[in-house]
Symmetry: C2
Subunit: 426 residues, 2 copies
């Protein structure tokens, strides 16, 4: 490793360039600390819009921002493209695919990955949707299904190609189902002159009795109603998956469903690095942190965001795996590192401010709740749009995305329908 | 094949959705003919800007436009995503990877591929740049080279990673070399705080004695001068490559050059389908066509663009493989098919109108020539920009591209620097 930082400075190593990791690095920018962000990708990913990439609405560069571009003018912040593999807690060394990185302080902001709950056949054959690579894979696959269906003469095979199953009734599942519906009934229907779109089917499967369980029940009902009545989505509640071989999805109860596409967003767990740490984790693999966001036995190691289990008051559930938790924790984490580095032991305690939640159902329709305030329909969608546009990173991205949304809102063309993984022989 | 077209209509099958193929289909749009476009990709590619994708300036969706989107309102034009494999000329059947497609008229507009002139080691280890997939591969590779170099402690290895060789002094080679220079000295230099950019090297290799041989000699000289003096590109004329093993490029004469990146744009040849036809081809594998753009012995088969060899007057060289030839030929080809379909045997003769040529050297600098008119510098670049913007396909693409160019012109951030092919274990 030739990351030659000043020898007299304390070094902070941050694992993960997500919402939490990037924010910590930004806040630690300054002459007194050396900061290294480690990520296996060279970009920060705006995960909330990943579903729009997978359904051909926006481009990968609009939600993927080069990590180094954040720190162009911060000579004390460096980036290492590597996979974090283990932590030598005693000797304060992060082990990575590109070699050892010693640290004075370590921030684990490594995020979460898809949780298939041990169902191997589903893990092998369904699509996860947590990474850019996965979303591109889904886009290519979905578009290819339409191309294949358009020349397939066997009706059963064709229906299998045209059946798209989203598992998980959280925001991602709802958003993907709605976006697929727009794609099929707004675009595919008009452009595949030989395809009978009435053979297509979108199914949204949820194990419990309602969608968007973090929302008030009436918004959950509204969401299901809009998907069913306006977007032609077959919403199946109280339905748990069992197996999937790439052709047939089976459930704990009821008829199996022939489909070539299962998009799984039914659960997340912390990345596997967390369980390697040898400290206490919850059942989602998140490491427990104290109120200063440190591992209790290793106060120089912090964990924030989706990979941390933070329980505000004893007996309560841990905070959810959402971006605002990560960004709010990043502020306290950075502050506490500064305090420790300057010799202080009086650390800030984290206090979560719940900003509510929102989910878009389809073009022009969303639900949002914040405290006792509830919104639905067009105005919720406009609010959703602006919240997301404002949070997008990058000089011009919010303008190009806004422009595309506006264009799609008016004409619904979805010009991102490009299959990029075709093998070309010559 | 379930492309159920009307039985009483004549069917036109077009191989290739490039400039020529798409234009023919547009011109044949109407109730009297059934048209099927066959392409191995589901998109039309705007090849002139491929170099900007490979150097992280624009996104793939900006130069790749879904073929079906052109023919949304043309129910008589269908698309088949398939590789054209052979032509049964006697029975009028196009053989494809997805089955047989019978035709009344066939338009071969299949384009060209990289010509490595039989040098196998170079074909195996250098990058071609004719397809979207290849440009994405170059982008990912180039960005990865900087990441790897930033942690590499062996100077010789590091210099090998930071040496980028473009072979071929035509527009593509010039444009890639200029764009790489901007990337390295405008972006990488500022964002890789630990990388010594003076170790980087860009080499442009050309076998003959000047760049841009289709231009007047003084513009060739100007191009070489700008690249050398302003963009720090090592322009090597009269230099022919011999071998490349992925680490070391050797030449017919002179010192070998250690490099991990060779981008080959030194020649093109027609796609291999052309040589399978069993009719006369030139040494670039292009099929010879008569003045009505037909194969002499098979008047129902037309060939246009990069895969056709059209000689205007005996003894002259064939027309060059550039977009204006393809689009101009498309007009005559479509016209002649309409005439044949309506029973006429009086066909239009093709006459090429040379629109001149232009190449961009770097941001704010280009060369252009048209007849006796010559332009260079900033105004040539503005002209280049508008010609390309106007020719871009798609509802919003010219706006987003113009916006990005403007942004890049001012700040040179190149936010498309995203490595998308990282294998992610979990």
């Amino acid at each position: 490793m030739s990351l030659n930082t000043g020898k007299d400075k304390k070094r902070v190593v941050i694992v993960g360039a997500g919402f939490g990791g990037v924010k910590v690095a930004k806040l630690l920018d300054g002459p007194n600390l050396d900061v290294i962000i480690v990520d296996r990708n060279n970009f920060h990913l705006f995960q909330p819009l990943l579903y729009q990439l997978s359904t051909s609405e926006i481009d990968e560069n609009e939600i993927a921002y080069p990590v180094r571009a954040f720190f162009r003018n911060s000579s004390n912040v460096n980036f290492l493209m590597a996979t974090a593999e283990d932590v030598d807690k005693e000797n304060k060394i992060l082990k990575t695919s590109e070699g050892d990185v010693p640290f004075d302080y370590l921030v684990l902001a490594a995020g979460a990955t898809t949780n298939f709950f041990g169902m191997k056949s589903i893990a092998d054959n369904a699509f996860g949707m947590k990474t850019l690579q996965e979303a591109i894979k889904i886009r290519n696959h979905v578009l290819r299904m339409f191309e294949q269906a358009s020349t397939c003469t066997d009706e059963a095979e064709r229906r299998k190609m045209l059946t798209f199953v989203c598992v998980g009734g959280g925001p991602t599942g709802v958003e993907v189902a709605g976006a697929l519906s727009e794609l099929i009934y707004g675009v595919i229907k008009n452009e595949y002159h030989n395809l009978n779109v009435s053979e297509a089917k979108i199914v949204l499967v949820e194990a419990i009795d309602r969608l968007l369980s973090m929302m008030p029940p009436d918004l959950s009902e509204e969401t299901a109603r809009v998907l069913r009545e306006k977007r032609n989505v077959d919403v199946r509640l109280n339905t748990a998956c069992k197996d999937y071989d790439g052709e047939m999805l089976t459930f704990k109860e009821g008829e199996p469903l022939p489909t070539r596409t299962v998009i799984w967003s039914a659960g997340v767990k912390a990345v596997s690095l967390m369980t390697k740490l040898g400290v206490e984790t919850d059942r989602s693999g998140r490491v427990k942190v104290n109120h200063s966001l440190q591992l209790e036995e290793y106060p120089e190691i912090f964990a924030i965001g989706d990979c941390a289990c933070y329980i505000e008051n004893e007996g309560e559930r841990p905070l959810p795996t959402v971006a605002p938790v990560a960004t709010q924790q990043a502020v306290v984490c950075a502050d506490n590192i500064k305090r420790l580095a300057s010799g202080s032991n009086v650390l800030t305690q984290f206090k979560y401010k719940d900003l509510g939640s929102m989910a878009t159902i389809c073009r022009g329709n969303a639900v949002a709740s914040m405290g006792s305030m509830k919104m639905k329909g067009f105005f919720a969608w406009v609010a959703w749009m602006f919240v997301h546009l404002l949070r997008l990173e990058g000089g011009y991205t919010n303008i190009t995305v806004l422009y595309k949304w506006f264009w799609n809102f008016l004409f619904g063309l979805r010009l991102g329908r490009v299959i990029t993984d075709t093998k070309i022989a010559e």
